[in-house]
Symmetry: C2
Subunit: 368 residues, 2 copies
């Protein structure tokens, strides 16, 4: 066995032979303890010796083995992000790319890694956390899509695994919660915007009711509207899928008192909604105004450009990373997320003055 290992190393030329701390110590003429102290800025080492050790390490291309360090310190410098993927929805949802971008921006400079996992449902997700904790693979986890009676916060607390929950900050949650303050502000602003444009028949296409963030936004929608003395034209729940967004839109357009404006729980659904409306022969925004949520990049380039709510997913991701790192004992300056979701007005919303025209039920092209 030793023989095969040796030959594998030889074949790897320079890079294959990983130097150990002993090689560095020998090269610098010190003990391995000195090398360790030089790298961790602990203990008492003369600056000259430190330099000599660091030079020797650089010469050999040595970095401390993450595995050995993790074993000794019981800290892996790795965080978990588990994405639930009900029915391949992730593939369509660029939301997560933004979140990951925000997380990585904080993790990378501190040498942390992000371990990404995909699961089918909550049960699988819980089992995964149990395994990750039992194997000691990660130092903490980012939880997305908080839901009512979410089993994950108590589970992770029981496992001794630090976690942050993305969503509306909530003081007595079992784990810290990170999110823009005043979550409802964007919806509030959007409703105001539509009403100023003259809309009174406004519908809302929501996500699954058990997810807290989408439930909250839907509640704010209804509340804001009623404060102005107007009843919601309709409120529909979906599973966030494109197909459901199209189905919901078709249902709304088939109403006798058709809404003049529709707000969607995310941009992906809003884009599908616009497509469905156009297919039904309606013009956006002339016949129907549409508002999205997320401010995905693509919304700026569609025709019409999408009016949406910017919730700065990247910044929330960065804040989540900082909160989690702080729980893991890293020295992270706390930066307050004092912003709030903001409406971005573009072209998919416009004034309504006409009584709703009847729907032309002639599809332009009768294809799939």
């Amino acid at each position: 066995m030793n023989g095969s290992e040796a030959s594998r190393r030889d074949s790897g030329r320079d890079g294959g032979a990983r130097p150990t701390i002993k090689a560095v110590a020998a090269a610098a003429g010190v003990s391995t303890a000195a090398v360790s102290q030089a790298f961790n800025a602990k203990g008492r080492i003369s600056e000259a010796t430190r330099r000599r050790i660091l030079d020797a390490a650089a010469e050999l291309g040595w970095s401390p083995s993450a595995t050995a360090t993790a074993l000794r310190s019981a800290r892996t410098r790795t965080l978990a992000l588990v994405v639930r993927r009900p029915t391949d929805v992730l593939g369509a949802d660029p939301h997560f790319s933004e979140l990951i971008t925000g997380l990585e921006g904080e993790l990378a400079p501190r040498g942390y890694g992000l371990l990404l996992h995909l699961v089918a449902d909550v049960a699988e997700e819980s089992a995964l956390y149990e395994r990750l904790a039992a194997e000691g693979r990660v130092d903490g986890a980012v939880l997305t899509d908080a839901r009512a009676d979410d089993p994950r916060p108590p589970l992770l607390r029981g496992l001794g695994l630090p976690a942050v929950l993305l969503g509306a900050p909530h003081p007595d949650a079992p784990v810290p919660t990170v999110g823009l303050g005043n979550q409802g502000a964007g919806i509030h602003e959007a409703v105001d915007h539509l009403m100023e444009l003259g809309h009174r028949r406004i519908a809302y296409v929501s996500g699954p009711g058990e997810l807290l963030h989408t439930g909250l936004r839907r509640a704010v929608f209804e509340e804001t509207l009623r404060l102005k003395g107007v009843e919601p034209a309709a409120v529909l729940s979906t599973d966030f899928s494109e197909a459901a967004a199209v189905a919901a839109t078709e249902e709304l357009l088939g109403m006798t008192e058709r809404p003049t404006a529709v707000m969607y729980a995310n941009d992906s659904m809003a884009v599908c909604g616009i497509g469905a409306a156009q297919r039904a022969g309606l013009r956006v925004p002339d016949d129907l105004s549409v508002v999205g949520y997320d401010n995905l990049p693509i919304g700026r380039w569609l025709h019409p450009r999408l009016t949406t709510v910017d919730q700065q997913v990247q910044r929330v991701g960065a804040a989540a990373a900082r909160a989690l790192l702080a729980q893991c004992g890293e020295d992270v300056p706390h930066v307050a997320l004092d912003d709030r979701p903001r409406l971005v007005v573009r072209e998919s919303t416009g004034p309504t003055d006409r009584p709703a025209p009847p729907i032309t039920s002639s599809p332009p092209y009768g294809k799939t």
Copy 2:
């Protein structure tokens, strides 16, 4: 220090106190070696003893520490995926979500994890691989976006890190390459489709020329067209960004001999192109036919629905994972990727009402 550790464990109640192999051995009344053998199905252990050990482990909720196992075996069961993010393009590109889905489907059942990193450019990417290799953090890496004179394959080979390169399979590449066979087939099919519809002035909006896959597709486009005796109306290079797609489209629409069809290097750009065309007052497909590439979910729901090329990113991701796992010594059945990219005809392409210049060489229906 021991005191503080003990108190931390006590405070963690049940889950906080990670059991060790010793605890399991004691509970089962055997040595730690027996526990190890029971879990790894090695050595010679009676089935009864094995059962007793496994039960004890389940009772205590013990799994072997990934860190300790990794230290001993020099295998972390973790693979790296590094995404280059020129200017926040990732956020817009659901392509990666699909790839990750495909990778995870193979990794998760084998207990492997995916370490995701984002970098700004090739230099940063190379430095990252060097660090990951030096620290022994991963067993291998998935490389995307092969480019001409790509520095990464030789680098990773030098570092002794297994890797797979996504793209056209290429026998004498320094690292194994994974991709659908006959990469050009989809483009070929798309050009045929457009010519059957009567298009003769067809333009191509490509990605950066140094990326092999987009360069190859562009070459196939030009070649296919010329084989039919038609010159490309225009071929433009972009950086894959939405802004560049819009700019390219506007340039094409401003030509005196405006193209009647445009093919884009990916769906995101095609969607932006449709938006730009509509904004310029053109109808798609009546005035301009558009073809994308990738078959992203959203393309099915736009108006018009997007005609595109399906290259089955998920399946390629799964194949890449298998190839990499095989290199890492896992016993993975080799599944051939014998498929090829295929055209998906939807609504964004249609017959051109403009007079088509007569074809000189081959008839439009005489295709492969």
